[in-house]
Amino acid sequence: MSSQDIPEENLPAEQDAHGAVSVADEQNPFADPGLPPHEHRVQDIDERAAKRSERVVAFLFTLSMLLTVGFIASYVAIPHDKAIFVFPIGHINALNFALGLTLGGALFTIGAGAVHWARTLMSDVEVADERHAIEAPPEVKAKVLADFKEGAKESALGRRKLIRNTMFGALALFPLSGVMLLRDLGPLPGTKLRHTIWSKGKLLVNMNTNLPLRPSDVAVGSLTFAKPEGLEETDEEFQTEIAKAALMIVRLQPDNIKDKRELEWAHEGIVAFSKICTHVGCPISLYEQQTHHVLCPCHQSTFDLSDGARVIFGPAGHALPQLRIGVSDEGYLQALGDFEEPVGPAFWERG
């Protein structure tokens, strides 16, 4: 580009500065010099540069059209279960990739075109607008207050106290109906949080195999998850029941068990604890064989299974409840009752 054939009157020097004058004020060197003069862009003075900008904008808009066609073509042509390898992302769904990029591109080019148009071809002369106080002028305020007084007086609300008081009463009471209607959102808690479906004689069923557990199935160092006999995944109440009844079983050397009651409630060193964390109810699933610690992966509460599952770190407030277990006549592990205390997070009525 050369500036030779730009008409003289288009050159910045030939145009008078935009009103703003930068005078060094003798009195105040920090005075506001006013809006700086407008500086011309190349597009303002060179029509060829402006043409080029026009072509760039038109190109972007055309590209957008092509990308939308590409979107439709991808939608029709690419099978929805096709995976492709894209470096460095890896294997991804081809249709999602194509649709997203064409849609994104089609939108982005519209935006880029519009912004380029605004920045290079539309006027970039800065204009000043006046602000007006948000507050109303005193006369307006006085008028409004007078009007309000007039209206209040005409309503006689202040004078006829009986009307006022009964109206407030009625307005205050009627929302109660709405509150009442919320009552049936759920049943009252009762003692539901205190009980699970564990009871005396229920066999401990391995969560993975769906078979009753024998003591010999539980090896030292392993962590087994169990559910009560009779609770099936297809049961309507399965989710709600397993949320309380989930059990984890580990085998310890009996002389490693520090807590006396834990030893009593165990069977040959096999102990069964609630799997539901006493903090906010996540299922505990990380077991460290060497230390017999279990860790809740949600908030890192750590319990010592060799010491009554008491809390040794983290935000949980009390030990995991233990389930008393024994062996049935057929040699299967069985519960000797329900948990003696509520499982899961603490609540006001827990005590």
Binding site: P36, L99, G100, F108, L185, T240, S285, P345
Partner: protein
């Protein structure tokens, strides 16, 4: 003017004008356009942050409506028969099943799901940054306090809309989050158990929460938010935009480009840019891959479970809190969960009420349309930085397991560091930020009085080397000295001329103390005066 003439002119008018006439006769659009069509909007990169919020909100609504066409908000158990082989034959809720259907069997469904989720993350992040922009530049001052609150409410409601939204697919990760919420609700003294039963329609998880969250997520909260967004925008128009100090910019004007055409093209174009970028992100970056997590089961969990980022600070609160429980008279006070539940809103409220505290301290009742540079208000800037650091300490606490596994650190030491950092880090950041601000103020003062360092070294005849300082332009001199400086509010004499003691209220004393902390000698560098400038530049005091 006769009616005939009028009619003739109207007949000749172009179609667009005729339509506009029709609308004006019924809606009065000409008067509306008169004051708004050429409305001036100032230009600054930070003013687009709010636009990112608005546009991502619109994108969320558009994609959300599409998703409702396919999503079944039901917790009935069904067996999966879709095209994702690893889960075939598994039991899952209809909510999960339909989300799988959207992701694998509706063409483009996965894309819209991912745009929806990515846009939600960006919406919240943009609101956070936008709010910080408004905070650090003092754009919340009179007359914009109400709009600050609207924005704050949008942020809080956005968090809960996000939470109820990502809980809808009923997958293993989000179900864990809902369980956490149940535990938190249970910790509320006296009524917690009842609240939980009413929320879930009985015991957790029950069969109701997806349907209930659905109506909250798609109707209740977005409806309120839409109203707030409209109000927010009306106020932006009504107050006119703020601007930074500079030549020609005063508290009584607004300098920039007109709405039609420049701002309309830029802002309208920017909507497409934001949408385009989010669509491209959704094409290449997977988000919330529910098929990898599987349907929710209350007895299962995956490691590294994290909420969406904006819920992370509440996660931090719950993770670092010691497990305090108090048992008395057959009741349990679950402080280990309840205290975080109380601090959670307080963290947010701390920043929300700040504008009102500041205006009480300054006692300034004037309108402010010129933005502050953060350095010129050191105490506010330090408070904001301390708040952000507090928030980030909690975010680290919320991801303590991720930090531990990625940086091979002990989870226990991270948790302890967060416990200490919760109290210590904001204080340190406050002190450091204030000092940095004061340092920057000194630098500005130096520049005004001694000019800009030119980088040119001059050797004097006697061998000394000096750097040449170039005087600033008048524009720069004005910009650097345009800010106002408050005087600390003094209580004044408490004993009058007759020796009668005046009662000073506690609140007055507190205000005077705060004012001293804000604007005392320790808290701001007096800006250069004309006299100082003249003395230095007049020649004999050349430095």
């Amino acid at each position: 003017m006769s009616t005939n003439e009028n009619n003739e002119r109207r007949d000749k008018a172009p179609a667009g004008e005729k339509i506009a006439d029709w609308a004006d006769g019924r809606l009065g659009i000409y008067s509306l356009a008169k004051s708004n069509m050429r409305k001036i909007f100032p230009d600054h990169w930070s003013f687009m942050l709010g636009e990112v919020c608005l546009y991502s909100f619109i994108i969320i609504i558009l994609t959300g409506v599409y998703l409702t066409l396919f999503f079944h908000p039901s917790m009935n158990e069904v067996t999966y028969h879709g095209s994702y082989v690893p889960l075939q034959g598994q039991l899952m809720s209809e909510a999960f099943n339909s989300t799988m259907h959207i992701s694998f069997d509706v063409r483009g469904g996965l894309l819209i799901r991912q745009i929806h989720h990515w846009a939600a993350l960006i919406f919240l992040a943009a609101m956070f940054v936008h709010m910080m922009r408004v905070f650090f530049t003092g754009a919340f001052r009179k007359p914009r306090e109400v709009n600050w609150l609207f924005g704050f409410l949008l942020f809080v409601l956005g968090m809960f809309t996000g939470f109820t939204g990502y809980s809808l697919p009923d997958d293993l990760l989000s179900g864990t989050g809902v369980r956490f919420m149940e535990g938190a609700v249970l910790s509320v003294p006296i009524v917690g158990t009842y609240l939980s039963f009413f929320l879930f329609g009985g015991e957790f998880p029950g069969g109701d929460f997806v349907a209930r969250f659905y109506s909250i997520h798609i109707l209740l909260l977005p409806g309120i938010m839409l109203g707030l967004v409209v109000g927010h925008l009306i106020l932006v128009f009504y107050h006119k935009h703020t601007q930074f100090a500079g030549p020609g910019k005063t508290n009584n004007n607004v300098v920039g480009m007109p709405l039609l055409p420049v701002y309309m093209a830029k802002a309208g174009g920017f909507f497409f840019l934001v949408f385009g970028v989010i669509a491209a992100v959704a094409a290449i970056a997977s988000i919330n891959p529910i098929w990898a997590m599987g349907p929710y089961r209350p007895d299962m969990v995956s490691t590294g479970a994290q909420p969406d980022w904006y819920m992370g600070f509440s996660e931090g609160l719950i993770r670092f809190m010691p497990g305090w429980e108090i048992n008395f008279w057959g009741h349990t006070l679950v402080l280990g969960v309840f205290i975080p539940l109380i601090i959670f809103p307080l963290v947010l409220v701390a920043i929300a009420v700040y504008p009102f505290i500041e205006s009480w301290v300054t006692g300034d009742k004037r309108e402010h349309h010129i933005l502050d540079r953060p350095r010129n208000v050191p105490t506010r800037t330090a408070f904001g930085a301390a708040w952000i650091s507090w928030y980030f300490v909690l975010l680290v606490g919320g991801g303590n397991d991720i930090w531990a596994t990625h940086f091979h650190l002990s989870i226990n030491s991270i948790t302890w560091a967060v416990r200490v950092g919760f109290f210590v880090v904001p204080v340190l950041v406050f002190i450091a930020t204030k000092r940095v601000c004061l340092g920057l103020q000194r630098r500005d003062k130096d520049k005004v009085l001694h000019g800009r360092e030119s980088g040119i070294i001059k050797r004097l005849p006697h061998g000394e080397f000096v750097e040449i300082h170039e005087p600033l332009s008048q524009d720069a001199l004005h910009t650097l000295t345009a800010h106002e400086q408050y005087e600390p509010a003094a209580i004044g004499a408490t004993v009058d001329a007759n020796g009668v003691e005046r009662k000073v209220k506690g609140s007055q004393k507190l205000r005077a103390k705060l004012s001293e902390a804000y604007y005392g000698e320790e808290s701001q560098i007096p800006k250069p005066t004309v006299e100082e400038y003249k003395e230095i530049t007049s020649g004999h005091g050349h430095h």
